[in-house]
Amino acid sequence: MDSLLELRDCTMQFGGLTALSKLSLQIGPRDLVGLIGPNGAGKTTVFNIITGIYKPTSGTIQFGGQSLVGRKASAIAARGVARTFQNIRLFASLSVYDNVRAAFTMHLKHGIAHALWRGGSFGREESEISDQVIDILKIFGLEDQRDVECKSLSYGDQRRLEIVRALATRPKLLLLDEPAAGMNPREKEELMELIQFVKEKYQIAVLLVEHDMKVVMGICMRVAVLDYGEKIAEGTPADIRKNPEVIEAYLGEEAKGPPPAPTL
C-alpha cells in the first residue's frame, strides 16, 4: 500500500530531553489511525513535527512523496495537512463564518491587487468562497450560528468549528489532537460519528491523538501506542487491547474486560 504520510526514525530532542525516539509511522490515504499513550508520551510532539511547528532532530517525514522536514507550517498546510489543537485555537475575535473563511485564503486565485481593485472576478471569487463556507457550515450544523463570535459557542461546537476550519483547507490528512477532551459522553458519541463521517465524506486520512479509549478503540482502524517517546506497539484495536506491554504501560488492569472507562 502506498502511504500518504511516512515518518521514519523521527527523533525530537529538547536539550537533554528526548520527547520522541526513532518513531516510524505510516498512514495510508484513507486510514483512520489512533495514537495513544500516557501523558507526556510525545503524542502532541508527533503532531508538531508533522505540521512544522518543530523540526525533528533527526529522521525523515514524507508526505505524498515529498519531504516535510524544515518547511514552514503554512507550506505544510498548503500541501494538505490540516490539524486541530489540544487547547482550542480558534480566531477568537472573528465570527464563526470568518473563522472558516480565513481558511480559504490559501486557495485564493487572486491576491492583494484584486482585493483592492474589486473587479468582476474578485466579486465572483468572494461569492464562491461565501457559498462554500455556507455549505460546509450547513453540513456540520453550524449555519445558524454563522454570525456568532466563535468564543460564545458551546465547547462542543468550538471543537466542531475547529474541525470545519481544518477541513476548509481541503486537506488530504487531518490531524486531530485530543478532540474528545472535556466532552461529556453524549458529545463523545457525536464526535465519533463526526470523525467517521468526515473521513468518508471527504475521503481523507485521519490521525487521531486521544486519551479516551472508548473513542479510539471505537473508530480507529489501527492504533499506535507511545510510551516515553517510543512506539511500543501498533495494530488493530483488538490486538492493542491484548498486548501485555500496552496494558502495563498505559491501560492498566481495566483493559482486560470491555473497553475501559475514560481516563479523563
Binding site: 503554512s74 487547547n87 485555537r89 475575535s93 473563511r101 490559501m106 487572486h110 482585493a115 474589486r118 468572494e126
Partner: protein
C-alpha cells in the same frame, strides 16, 4: 462596486471643499493636520489593529517620506529640470506627485528592510525594535547635511492642498478597508488572533505581517510628503517617538481594527490641543479669574492629557471607543478571553 463610489465621493468632496470653502490660515492648518493624521492612523491601524503587531515607529517612515519628497521638489527637481517653473501648474503638480510617490516608495522599502528581521519579534520586543528604528531614522536625518541636518530644512513649495491631502486620506481608507474586508484580508485578522492557528490553515504569517508593515510604511511616507509640502519646514525633532506615540494613541483610542473609530479618533485628537488652547480664555471670561496654575500647565501639556486620557480609557473601555462594535474586540485582551472561555465550559 460600492467602495469605489465612496472613494470617488471622498475625492469629490475634498475637491469642492478646497475650491469653494474659504478658510483662514489657522483653520486650514488644522484641517490639513487632521487629514495627515487620518492617513497616519488608518495606515498604522493595519499593522497594530488588524494584524495585531505592535509598531511604534510610524514617525520614522513618515520622516523618510517627508524628507525624501521635500528633497526632490526643493533640491532635485530644480537641478534636473532647471527650465521648468515648479511653483505650480501642471509641471509643479506632476513633480509634487512624483516626489510624494518616491518618498512613499522609499518609506515602503525601509518598511520591507525593517520588517523582515523584526517581525519575528512579538509584542514588547517588536515595539522596542520599531521604536529604535524610528530614532535611528531621526538621528540619521539630523546628521544628513543635504537636508539641513539639525538646522532643519526649508521646503520650496507648499503643494499640499486640502484636495491632495484628503484625496490621499480617501485612498488610504479605501486601500485598508478593502484589503481587510476581503477573503484575502481575513489572513491579517487570523494572524492577529492566533499565529499558530493561522499557520495551520496555510496563512503565511510572515508574508502577511510584512505586507501590512510595508503598506503602512508606504502611507506613512505619503503622509510625510504631504506634511513637508504643507508646513514647508522640516525639523528632525518633529519626527521623534512622541509623534509615533500620538499615532498609536489614535489607533488605541479609536479602537484597534475599527477603521471608522480610528478616523474619528484622529479627528478628535487633532482638534483636542486646539480646543484645550481656548479653555483658559473661556474660564476667565466666565468666572472672572484665571485658571489655577496647575490646571493651566496641564492643559498646555498635550502629552499629559493624552496619558490621562489613555489611562482612563484603558480602565473603562480597553477595546477603544469604537472597538468591538464591528464584532471585534481589541487584540489586547483576546488571549485571556479565549483561554478563560475554553476552560470554563
Amino acid at each position: 462596486m460600492r467602495p469605489k463610489i465612496y472613494f470617488l465621493i471622498g475625492v469629490l468632496v475634498s475637491f469642492l471643499v478646497w475650491y469653494f470653502v474659504p478658510m483662514d490660515q489657522y483653520i486650514r492648518e488644522i484641517v490639513l493636520t487632521i487629514g495627515i493624521n487620518i492617513i497616519l492612523a488608518v495606515s498604522l491601524n493595519l499593522v497594530n489593529g488588524h494584524t495585531g503587531q505592535f509598531s511604534i515607529g510610524h514617525a520614522g517612515f513618515m520622516a523618510i517620506g517627508a524628507y525624501f519628497s521635500a528633497w526632490i521638489t526643493t533640491v532635485g527637481a530644480p537641478t534636473w529640470w532647471p527650465s521648468l517653473d515648479l511653483s505650480g501648474g501642471l509641471a509643479g503638480t506632476l513633480v509634487f506627485l512624483g516626489a510624494l510617490l518616491a518618498g512613499a516608495l522609499l518609506a515602503a522599502l525601509a518598511g520591507l528592510l525593517i520588517g523582515i528581521p523584526t517581525l519575528r519579534l512579538r509584542g514588547d520586543y517588536l515595539a522596542i525594535a520599531t521604536l529604535g528604528f524610528g530614532e535611528i531614522i531621526r538621528v540619521v536625518i539630523q546628521n544628513t547635511e543635504v537636508v539641513g541636518g539639525s538646522r532643519g530644512f526649508s521646503v520650496a513649495y507648499g503643494y499640499a492642498t486640502i484636495f491632495w491631502t484628503y484625496l490621499f486620506a480617501a485612498l488610504t481608507i479605501y486601500v485598508v478597508a478593502n484589503l481587510v474586508n476581503s477573503a484575502y484580508g481575513r489572513g491579517f485578522l487570523a494572524v492577529r488572533d492566533d499565529e499558530v492557528a493561522a499557520e495551520s490553515i496555510g496563512v503565511n504569517t510572515t508574508k502577511y505581517k510584512v505586507i501590512a508593515f510595508v503598506l503602512a510604511a508606504f502611507f506613512a511616507g505619503i503622509a510625510g510628503g504631504l506634511y513637508s509640502h504643507f508646513k514647508q519646514y522640516l525639523h528632525p525633532d518633529r519626527f521623534n517617538f512622541i509623534t509615533s506615540i500620538e499615532v498609536v494613541v489614535m489607533v488605541i483610542v479609536g479602537g484597534m481594527g475599527s477603521t471608522f473609530g480610528v478616523i474619528a479618533a484622529a479627528i478628535v485628537l487633532s482638534l483636542l490641543p486646539e480646543a484645550l488652547r481656548f479653555i483658559p480664555q473661556f474660564y476667565q471670561q466666565i468666572f472672572g479669574v484665571s485658571l489655577p496654575h496647575l490646571v493651566d500647565d496641564l492643559l498646555k501639556n498635550r502629552m499629559m492629557i493624552y496619558s490621562l486620557l489613555l489611562i482612563i480609557l484603558m480602565l473603562t473601555r480597553p477595546q477603544g471607543i469604537f472597538g468591538g462594535i464591528s464584532g471585534r474586540p481589541a487584540f489586547l485582551f483576546k488571549r485571556k478571553s479565549v483561554r478563560a472561555d475554553g476552560l470554563a465550559s
